[in-house]
Amino acid sequence: MVMFKAAFVREWRLLARQKADWLNPLMFFVIVLTLFPLGIGAKPNLLAEIAPGIIWIAALLSVLLGAERLFKEDFRQGTLEQLVAADEPLFAYVLAKITSSWCSTALPLLFISPLIALLLGLNAAAWQAIVLSLLLGTPLLNLLAALGAALTLSADKGGILLALLILPLYIPLLIFASAAVDNATLGLDYSAQLAVLAAMLCLAAALVPLAVLKALRLNVG
């Protein structure tokens, strides 16, 4: 716990000093969202129909964008190999990394979600569904992104490879999250989709940190 707090505080200090790390993905998200109406046409009905998919694909890409740097700096500075050698603090470190990356990439998305709903012409019910699905789904995004970052840590071509590995794993999330928002725009009940999202989140929260740990040990060794 002491270690978790220390690592978390360290992450926050770094984020405060490198604002681009969390501002850029956010700006990317907003820009991608504005591109869709420009490319497809801004008919309100059409927009509302495709909004769930667009929002989730943009969220997914913006999380991926920030994922590569997650462990890179600590790997280059040697912090990571010292943590692996010390073994015990590693798990808390990984948890702190994932939590802080969620706070820095997904929380801002939640805050600007009313704006998104306005841009895409969604009603209040749909906005609520977006918030709920983002709340349950984005931790999953961050968990899997951390796994991809850990796996490709010492690889030669990290960035694009990371996307290649992780995007297929996002498919279930994309399906259920956009289905939830879809149902909300139609005024249907979407608690079942949220329950599936919650179940997937629980499974991932239990297993992914272990896989990240293994991947980090492997890349350092």
Binding site: S154, D156, L161, I175, F176, A179, A215, L218
Partner: protein
């Protein structure tokens, strides 16, 4: 419990065993596949609904079954490699992945060729085809990751870990795609319903399934042999083998003039 398996984990032993098995497996695979194909193409009646186009089933279904089978065997090898730190298992992951990817590609192509006369378009977002497509992405990820590291051993370990992660995800992906499919395209599924299989059609299908399995085993043996040589090239036994092949005259002796 698994102590009796230990000698087989020794690369040199495994290399010889694979060399011993490969010709038999390959011959059997080719014979079974040919028999299954000829039987399935020419000696079974046509389907009353789909006509002769149904004959694609004799490669589509075996390829689809063993594309999943190859992924599971790859994941089992990967699990063994990660838990018991057995190197040959880790190399087996890299040996199986391309075979599985090719099987998946075959399942996709034949599925498309079957879909065109049935659905009228080459591609339909059908649950099975979509799952196969995602499976192909997973295979490509494993292959790409294993080649992305300067250190080959690290690449092998990382791709083993990815294979295990993938196999946990595979059922989730499969069911979510199926659910998504019922949501969006409920109508197409009934068209593609399982034909009630007549025994006369079943036997060649089973033969083809067996043939694809044998081919998977044979090619795994072949590729594993290459992987063992590549990764054990610093060992005396591989050096001796290389020297033998050298003396057979495959390679010109370039160093004769220089050592003087």
């Amino acid at each position: 419990m698994f102590k009796w398996l230990d000698p087989y984990a020794k690369p040199e032993t495994l290399y010889r065993i694979c060399g011993l098995w490969f010709p038999w497996l390959m011959t059997l695979a080719v014979l079974t596949l040919l028999l299954g194909t000829v039987w399935g193409l020419g000696f079974t009646p046509a389907d009353y609904q789909q006509g002769d186009s149904y004959r694609i089933i004799h490669i589509h279904v075996p390829a689809a079954i063993w594309s999943m089978g190859a992924y599971s065997s790859m994941a089992i090898a990967a699990f063994i490699a990660l838990v018991w730190q057995i190197k040959v298992a880790q190399w087996a992951v890299g040996a199986i992945a391309p075979i599985g990817a090719v099987y998946t590609l075959i399942a996709l192509l034949t599925g498309m060729a079957w879909g065109k006369p049935m659905w009228g378009t080459w591609w339909v977002w059908d649950a099975r085809l979509t799952s196969e497509l995602i499976l192909l992405f997973l295979y490509l990820g494993v292959i790409a990751l294993s080649g992305a590291f300067a250190d080959r051993q690290m690449g092998a370990k990382a791709s083993a870990l990815l294979a295990v992660v993938g196999v946990v995800n595979l059922p989730i992906i499969h069911f979510s795609v199926e659910w998504w499919n019922t949501l969006h395209q409920g109508a197409t599924i009934t068209k593609f319903a399982k034909p009630s299989i007549d025994p006369s059609m079943l036997w060649p299908l089973l033969l083809s399934i067996l043939g694809f399995a044998l081919l998977l085993a044979a090619l795994t043996c072949l590729r594993l042999r290459t992987a063992i040589l590549l990764n054990e090239q610093h060992r005396p036994w591989v050096r001796a083998l290389a020297q033998q092949s050298d003396q057979k005259g495959n390679v010109p002796q370039t160093n004769a003039g220089r050592t003087v």
